[in-house]
């Protein structure tokens, strides 16, 4: 069962209804049952890996707590040894089962980071170990997050299982709207753009330069819509079930610097890497050179986490290098801005910074998407060839998207940009919609449903089932 499946859409209301009517104190058991059913329906064999992870995480945390002897004295040698052992076991399991050489385990990169975060939190004394096995199992396997995150923290999730909130219609409506937006991003924009992008990255050397450049820009939107779409569905779905899940995207392409981009893109991973890799490495507390090195290490880890291919490492390191260049050139840039008397808060200056940041991110995405470094360089080289006649000679529509389909993609991206600009400026669209009168609300929601059903890339002839981040 996938998020993009009829079975999921039919079963979710049933699951939500039962969740709605059963006593709150038993709700976590119901959520665990449906989470287990969800994961087993995707891959029965991988469930064994999941179960193993839950057992290791549960007992590792309990033992760490036990050998520490108290909340104030967690960092004993025994606790450290247990931590190292648990981390080694889980990281090794993640690398082995992610590669699929022995057996694949879908979502392992995500639920393993959740588990590791929880064990480290217990070791640090930031969290107490969860003694209820079922609650811990639910934390690791909670179905809206299990495939592609967000990578939640125990501190946010476990209390919600113990003290569930009242699920009311407002929450359900809000969750429903969020899911609707997620499906729109995924099915109408991401999967449509993917048809064009796949053609470009399959044989870039045979495609006209500007078409390749367009393909790279479209990929930036594809991966955003795909992943943010998944996250919105996951967050909305969890909300309907009475669980608040952390935000994973916050208008990332509105960022005015690479550092800001990473505060807005895949927030749950960025903060995880910050809290469990960057800060333990010393962060920015051990001098400038060490800070730069730490940044490179964090982004290298991020790259490797995304995949074992060299392209992912280059993608990660490129972001690290961007940041270091940003730090190094900051005084110079400040002087230029001062000399030219540029208004930093002016729209034009902010827009230029946003565009430059987008282009840098866009360049890095080429490595992320390409099958090999060689292909990535071919895409970059071809992108620099200027062939503007593709807009008028019809070749724009020869890469799998008809003119109508391309129009829908462009309109979808424009809508996405508008929504992001509004969100960036603090306008909460869902709140605005919910506060409208019933008729406007219904019209908007029904229009959304119809747009997804009609313009969505799904059904016969398409494979819209898998999300890009599902593979990591």
């Amino acid at each position: 069962m996938q998020f993009v499946s009829l079975a999921f859409l039919l079963l979710l209301p049933v699951a939500a209804l039962i969740n709605f009517i059963i006593p709150r104190k038993f709700r976590y058991i119901w959520l665990l049952a449906i989470s287990a059913a969800f994961y087993i329906s995707i891959d029965l064999k991988a469930s064994a890996v999941m179960a193993g992870t839950v057992v290791v995480t549960y007992f590792a945390a309990l033992l760490i707590e036990k050998v520490s002897g108290g909340a104030e004295e967690k960092r004993t040698k025994g606790a450290t040894a247990l931590l190292v052992l648990a981390v080694v076991v889980e990281v090794a399991a993640m690398l082995i089962f992610r590669s699929g050489k022995i057996m694949g385990a879908i979502g392992i990169s995500f639920y393993m980071l959740k588990s590791l975060g929880y064990i480290i939190d217990v070791y640090r004394g930031d969290e107490v170990a969860e003694h209820n096995f079922l609650k811990l199992a639910l934390f690791v396997s909670f179905f809206p997050q299990v495939i592609s995150g967000p990578i939640e923290r125990a501190g946010n999730m476990l209390p919600q299982f113990s003290y569930p909130v009242t699920v009311d219609f407002d929450r359900m409506r809000d969750g429903f709207l969020q899911m609707l937006w997620g499906y729109f991003l995924k099915l109408v924009i991401a999967d449509r753009i993917a048809i064009y992008v796949n053609s470009v990255f399959e044989a870039p050397d045979t495609i006209s330069g500007t078409l390749v450049a367009i393909g790279t820009v479209l990929y930036s939107f594809e991966i955003y819509c795909d992943f943010a779409g998944y996250s919105a569905i996951a967050i909305g779905c969890a909300r309907i079930l009475g669980i608040d899940v952390m935000k994973n995207f916050d208008s990332p392409y509105m960022a005015k610097s690479i550092a800001e981009f990473w505060r807005r893109w895949h927030i749950s991973l960025s903060t995880w890497l910050r809290d469990y890799v960057y800060i333990p490495l010393g962060g920015n507390r051990k001098g400038t050179v060490r800070k730069y090195l730490n940044v490179l290490i964090v982004f290298a880890v991020s790259g490797i986490w995304h995949g074992s291919a060299l392209t992912f490492l280059v993608w990660g390191l490129l972001h690290g290098v961007y940041q270091i260049i940003g730090f190094v050139t900051m005084p110079l840039r400040d002087k230029v801005v001062e000399a030219l008397k540029i208004d930093r808060s002016g729209l034009s200056h902010r827009t230029v910074k946003t565009i430059i940041t987008f282009l840098l991110v866009n360049l890095a995405w080429i490595f992320f998407r390409a099958e090999s470094l060689e292909k990535a360089f071919t895409v970059i080289k071809k992108s620099l060839e200027f062939t503007p006649w593709v807009f008028s000679d019809g070749s724009l529509f020869e890469l799998g998207l008809t003119q109508g389909s391309m129009n829908i993609a462009v309109l979808g991206i424009i809508l996405l940009i508008v929504m992001d600009i509004l969100a960036f400026n603090g306008v909460e669209i869902r709140d605005k919609i919910i506060r409208q009168s019933i008729w406007y609300r219904w019209i908007i929601m029904i229009a959304g449903i119809l747009a997804i059903l009609i313009f969505g890339v799904w059904g016969a002839g398409y494979n819209a089932a898998s999300f890009i981040y599902q593979q990591f």
Binding site: F20, I21, T166, V167, F169, T402, G404, S405, I438, W442, M445, I446, I449, L450, L453, I454, F455, G456, V457, W458, G459, A460, G461
Partner: protein, 496 residues
């Protein structure tokens, strides 16, 4: 936990409104081909006496409008494009839920196909063929509502569970039709979408100029008796006999391959086993391979008229099939028959090509014609042209002249008149008037009527370089309907 009644009502209201809109979208977006074909079937199922089932050969060869026009028999053409016997079987089972005909006529083309699943076909079938096979099944299946028979049919015809979904929920495949919607798609919302005017048949109007002729098989063992196609023909006959419905098995004329001839042998053997009639039109000489095929596999409208008349003759021997002409309850059938003959009338008066026009003139009931070919025309070296003219006259004159040549086909009197070389026609009584024809010289000839001697119908100075003229006139009133000029270039003809 308090649940507000208003919240429940709002949720129910929203769900209903959303479902209604989604239903509207499915109606607009669904492919209309199946609805178009079967709209009259559902509306007039209680009046249907004969069902024709089979492949596209049936769609193009059997015209229920003609059958009604000629015999007054009500029938429906259930043929499906690329419909193999198992698909045909399920088509019949679905149809029998709505109607109980007196006779089922099943065509055996494609009976040689020896695979069960349309999405798998043979091991070496390419993906495109498989995709086409699945796509063609939609014509047969989309119109039937979702029920246990449809589920059984789809499970029997399609192996892939994912592909089955597009038959259970057609929106699965049709939601992306938004780019090709036209006014007819929206008319479906009000139930006024176009419908097939020929009770499921489709007429084609081309002419296959070079049908292939293939050798007979070396033996008469047919297909061996165990192909999937043969198995389902038996099931069709069994089903009809179980329901006391007469069955007739056919092989409709086409440019039959050696494999097709094996099909005929097999069909004949099965029919003998079940004691049902087998009409092998291929051997009956009813349809002219050289003028009545649209392509090597399918008949054109003239071929369909001939084939349908032939089948009508066979049906007339079955008890219980009655002539409904004159019965006001069946006016709709007469109206559709008249409309079809109107189409043939129009094609005879003015067609896209000279071949087409001659073909439809030879079968037109109410259009008379005068065909003139000047001496030296390259039409005299064109075998197809000669064959089409020969269809009018059955005399060999057209084969033995270099022109000029004239043929008057006077439908009202049932007479034709021809002349060639220096021959004259004098005082011919036609509905146009009393006609006189006399060749004078290469670019000049006389053709006039006693009623209007001043008008030389076959001479126009401005069109002297056209070597062929066709004049059509109404068989009843004699009113001239069209005057077409053609120029011959080998076997190519350009119209004025």
């Amino acid at each position: 936990m308090k649940i507000k009644l208003s919240s429940i009502l709002k949720t129910v209201g929203f769900t209903c409104a959303a479902l209604l809109c989604i239903y509207g979208a499915t109606v607009v977006l669904r492919d209309k081909e199946s609805e178009y074909k079967y709209a009259d079937f559902f509306d007039r199922a209680d009046q249907i006496d004969v069902l024709f089932i089979g492949s596209s050969h049936v769609i193009n060869a059997i015209n229920p409008a003609v059958l009604y026009g000629e015999y007054g028999y009500t029938s429906y053409n259930m043929g499906g494009h690329g419909s193999v016997m198992q698909a045909t079987y399920w088509e019949l089972i679905e149809a029998l839920q709505y109607t109980t005909p007196k006779c089922v006529v099943v065509d055996t083309y494609l009976m040689n196909k020896d695979y069960q699943y349309l999405d798998q076909m043979y091991e070496d079938s390419d993906e495109e063929d498989r995709a086409t096979s699945v796509a063609q099944l939609h014509l047969n299946m989309d119109c039937w509502p979702m029920d246990k028979i449809k589920v059984a049919a789809v499970e029997d015809l399609i192996a892939d569970k994912e592909i089955r979904k597009q038959f259970y929920v057609p929106f699965h495949v049709y939601h992306n039709r938004w780019e090709e919607l036209d006014s007819n798609d929206y008319k479906a919302l009000t139930g006024t979408a176009d419908r097939n005017p020929l009770f499921g048949a489709e007429m084609r109007y081309g002419i296959e100029l070079t049908p292939g002729i293939y050798p007979d098989p070396e033996d008469e063992n047919g297909l061996g008796g165990h192909t999937v196609g043969e198995e389902y023909l038996r099931k069709i006959i069994d089903e009809c006999q179980r329901r006391n419905i007469d069955v007739m098995v056919t092989f409709l004329t086409c440019s039959a391959s050696t494999e097709d001839k094996r099909v005929m042998d097999s069909a004949e053997m099965i029919c003998e086993q079940y004691d049902v009639p087998f009409i092998n039109m291929q051997e009956m000489g009813v349809v002219d391979l050289y003028t009545d095929l649209n392509d090597t596999g399918h008949m054109n409208a003239m071929g369909a008229i001939k084939a349908t008349k032939c089948i009508g003759q066979e049906l007339s021997e079955i008890d219980g099939i009655t002539d409904h002409r004159g019965d006001v309850a069946y006016d709709y059938w007469q109206q559709r028959a008249d409309e079809f003959y109107g189409t043939i009338y129009d094609m005879a008066v003015d067609s896209e090509s000279i071949y087409q026009q001659l073909n439809y003139l030879s079968g037109a009931k109410t259009v008379s014609s005068i065909i003139y070919i000047n001496d030296g025309s390259q039409a005299f070296g064109d075998n197809e042209m000669q064959r089409l003219l020969h269809n009018f006259t059955v005399t060999p004159k057209i084969y033995h002249t270099d022109g000029p040549y004239i043929l008057i086909n006077d439908v009202a009197s049932g007479q034709f008149y021809e002349a060639c070389d220096g021959e004259v026609l004098d005082g011919i009584k036609t509905s146009l008037g009393t006609v006189h024809y006399q060749p004078v010289e290469h670019l000049f000839r006389l053709f006039y009527t006693d009623e209007d001697p001043e008008t030389n119908l076959l001479y126009d100075d401005s069109k002297s370089d056209y070597d062929i003229q066709i004049i059509t006139y109404d068989a009843a009133s004699g009113e001239i309907l069209s005057h077409n000029y053609y120029k011959s270039y080998g076997s190519n003809y350009t119209q004025e």
